[in-house]
């Protein structure tokens, strides 16, 4: 206990010295998120400084081993770090698919050389990764993917197309599922790493209903990659793919918790109170139910963490959390638009405040929550089969 208290004091002092003032203010929007990478343009020099300092300390990935650039913290120390960062309202120094998704599976499945090569650069935010999973013909049925990877003796040759590749147009590298055996389905998939600057790689942004373009189509035409760029064994990629999806689902399900404007405040402002109660009784009841669901979700996350700490295997819960989290965020966005009234129906221009436009855009963007990272329907299948043991139709 004394150790953890002294760790808290040291951490507090270090953050006090090293977290720049502008990094202790709430993020105004998604534009303030720092993603790093070779070509990243920092809007704010203090954001760069903050990333460099946290990266050098390994605290962008606090629990990864020090050997691979991580912070080497245990559970309790990490909790202290997170609570100390919250205390000063420190922004996350780095948003990274490398940290959230790829890193954890590299730690588990990659060889020593690969870990040494890729992990430290993820920690320091030097390389930005994207995810090459879905294809035009392989969405919910991901294992139906067809991007071909052929053994050419001294290299792999890749041909095919990926879709819904998040931020592929900004990414330096791609972790990618490819077909190495066409005679079988799941057992013919491998997991490879591709440098996006390799000749034959092309990306094209996809414009969404929200007006933003967070996703791309990615094309691979005769792309040559080194033999050393396969993670795990040949045709052993599906297991890694599923494990990574688990991390992705846990991550997406947390989207709703990082809210800027609270729906209650929005409703107070735009709908109004009478005798302390929202004037629209029906909306009030639905917001209340939503707030309860939000609390229930947060409590369940805390319970799962506590059970995991006590040694219980809670990995099967990822699909449940993904479904519940997506539902919750969509519900929240719907209520925000409703509470904002006509202020939530703008598209652009100065007639609407930026936070009003954000309400509209977030609502449209949230429609993807129940599709990306496995649709709600696919995740319900997973819960039914793996958790409840309900047999599939023969």
């Amino acid at each position: 206990m004394a150790d953890i208290e002294s760790f808290r004091e040291e951490t507090r002092a270090w953050l006090e010295t090293n977290c720049p003032p502008s990094m202790r203010t709430p993020m105004a929007g998604e534009d303030d998120a720092v993603w790093g990478g070779r070509n990243y343009q920092f809007k704010n020099p203090e954001a760069k400084l903050w990333l460099e300092r946290m990266g050098a300390k390994g605290w962008t990935a606090p629990m990864w081993p020090k050997d691979y650039g991580g912070g080497g913290l245990n559970n309790d120390e990490n909790r202290v770090l997170q609570s100390e960062m919250r205390r000063i309202q420190a922004r996350p120094p780095l948003f990274s698919f490398g940290i959230w998704m790829l890193g954890p599976v590299l730690l588990e499945y990659a060889n020593e050389e690969q870990k040494k090569e890729y992990l430290p650069k993820i920690v320091r935010g030097e390389i930005r990764w994207c995810q090459g999973y879905s294809e035009p013909g392989a969405g919910s049925d991901l294992a139906g993917l067809q991007t071909k990877c052929e053994d050419k003796g001294d290299h792999w040759l890749i041909n095919g197309q990926k879709v819904w590749t998040s931020y592929a147009n900004y990414a330096d590298w791609c972790f990618c599922l490819v077909r190495t055996d066409t005679s079988v389905k799941h057992e013919g998939i491998s997991f490879v790493l591709i440098d996006m600057t390799t000749p034959g790689v092309e990306t094209r942004p996809i414009k969404l209903i929200s007006g933003s373009s967070p996703f791309c189509e990615t094309f691979f035409t005769d792309v040559k990659i080194s033999k050393g760029n396969m993670v795990g064994r040949l045709n052993g990629g599906w297991e890694i793919a599923k494990r990574l999806l688990m991390y992705e689902r846990t991550n997406i399900s947390g989207f709703g918790s990082n809210t800027r404007v609270d729906v209650i405040d929005l409703a107070r402002d735009h709908v109004g109170l009478e005798g302390g109660k929202l004037v629209d009784a029906d909306l009030r009841a639905r917001i209340s139910a939503h707030k309860m669901a939000e609390r229930a979700y947060a409590l369940t996350t805390a319970r799962a963490q506590e059970e995991a700490k006590a040694g219980a295997n809670v990995s099967h819960m990822a699909s449940m959390f993904k479904v519940a989290g997506a539902t919750l965020n969509q519900e929240r966005c719907e209520l925000m638009v409703e509470a904002a009234g006509n202020r939530g129906l703008g598209w652009s221009g100065e007639g609407f405040a930026p936070e009003e436009l954000a309400v509209t855009r977030s609502w449209l963007r949230s429609k993807g929550n129940s599709i990306e990272g496995g649709t709600t329907e696919v995740n319900l299948n997973v819960v039914a089969k793996r958790v409840l043991g309900l047999r599939d139709t023969q």
Binding site: L278, S288, A296, L299, L388, L390
Partner: protein
């Protein structure tokens, strides 16, 4: 905050599960219903009291175990699983809480030992009318006398003493006192209740006014939510088992996606509700500031969940679920009563919104 039972609570819960499955499976309620016992089972209550359940939260100096609400909640959850018909909630949770929170020394000395031993059954008389509205009571109290009417008092037909809720606080009234009359109600859940009339009946006030009343009501809600969690869990397990065994179109019906997704949805709701109930019990033991929020959260979520699961339990069983012979109906009936007692989901959503300031 913690969601994990300690060793003592774990033992209590395991013992409760064994006792309920052996001594009071659902068939016990069915048998009593058929014999028109209307929730009268003094033998079961005696056995529960011998297990120490009646005095779980009663301090040791008054003959109880001096354990917390988490332990009592764990037992209530287990009794919910088998629909065990007993005044455990009314007496061990509500009666004991009312005296611990609002009783004077003499009142505690008079009642707590009798509660802990199972000798005195307590009933909580809350609502004047058809709906839960504890803040609006026409109860009249003055000069040590109480007058008014209370409807659908759970365990009111078997109670020795009433905790009566008024707009300004709680009052203790002996059931056999002059001026107390009760009409026994035969209720849909076969547990029984009573409409009670007080006409200048002698009474003693508990201290703390409306604050004590609300604190006791919140304990009633949280305790009932724990029982409802057990009901919902058992009804879900029964349904899930049926999905794995019932065959139609040459296959088990659990293979149909239309049912799989609904089962997954029920599982999710159960897990979310479980966290709310455990957090609420823990909040009581921690003496947390926002117990009221936790109580409304737990009761509303438990109500919605047991409603969903008990209805799906009937639907997924098909025709057999509509028969009196099957247990699905017993769960549906108890669920409906538990949903309404101490405020339904609508009441608690309204209250939660007010607590959150909108």
């Amino acid at each position: 905050m913690t969601f994990t039972l300690n060793e003592e609570q774990r033992l209590l819960k395991d013992a409760a599960r064994d006792f309920c499955s052996e001594q009071t499976p659902v068939s016990r309620l069915r048998k009593e219903r058929d014999a028109k016992k209307n929730g009268r089972d003094p033998e079961l209550w005696r056995e529960m009291a011998q297990m120490g359940w009646a005095g779980i939260i009663v301090p040791e100096e008054y003959g109880g175990a001096g354990l917390g609400y988490v332990g009592l909640g764990a037992v209530l959850e287990e009794t919910g699983r088998t629909l065990a018909p007993s005044p455990l909630l009314s007496t061990a949770m509500i009666g004991a809480s009312a005296l611990i929170l609002g009783g004077g020394d003499a009142q505690k000395a008079q009642w707590l030992p009798k509660i802990a031993s199972g000798e005195a059954i307590v009933a909580f008389a809350v609502d004047d009318g058809a709906h839960h509205a504890p803040g609006r009571s026409a109860l009249k109290v003055g000069g040590g006398k109480i007058s008014g009417e209370k409807k659908y008092v759970a365990d009111g037909h078997i109670a020795e003493v009433f905790i009566v809720s008024g707009a300004d606080g709680l009052y203790l009234v002996k059931a056999d006192a002059a001026g107390v009359s009760r009409r026994e109600l035969f209720t849909v859940d076969s547990r029984g209740a009573a409409d009670v009339t007080f006409k200048d009946a002698p009474t003693e006030a508990l201290s703390g006014g409306a604050a004590t009343r609300d604190a006791v009501l919140d304990r009633a809600r949280i305790g009932l939510a724990a029982e409802m969690l057990g009901q919902a869990q058992a009804a879900f397990e029964m349904t899930s088992e049926y999905l794995k065994t019932r065959k139609q179109f040459g296959q088990v019906i659990g293979g149909f996606q239309a049912l799989q997704h609904r089962a997954a949805k029920m599982f999710t709701e159960l897990e979310l509700t479980r966290s709310c109930v455990y957090a609420a019990l823990d909040a009581l033991d921690r003496n947390a500031e926002n117990v009221a929020e936790y109580a409304s959260l737990a009761k509303a979520r438990a109500g919605d969940t047991v409603h969903l699961v008990s209805n799906e339990c009937v639907q997924m069983h098909g025709g057999i679920g509509m028969t009196d012979e099957h247990d699905a109906g017993l769960f549906l009936k108890r669920a409906r009563v538990a949903e309404a007692l101490f405020g339904g989901a609508t009441f608690h959503r309204d209250r939660y919104a007010s607590l959150l300031g909108f």
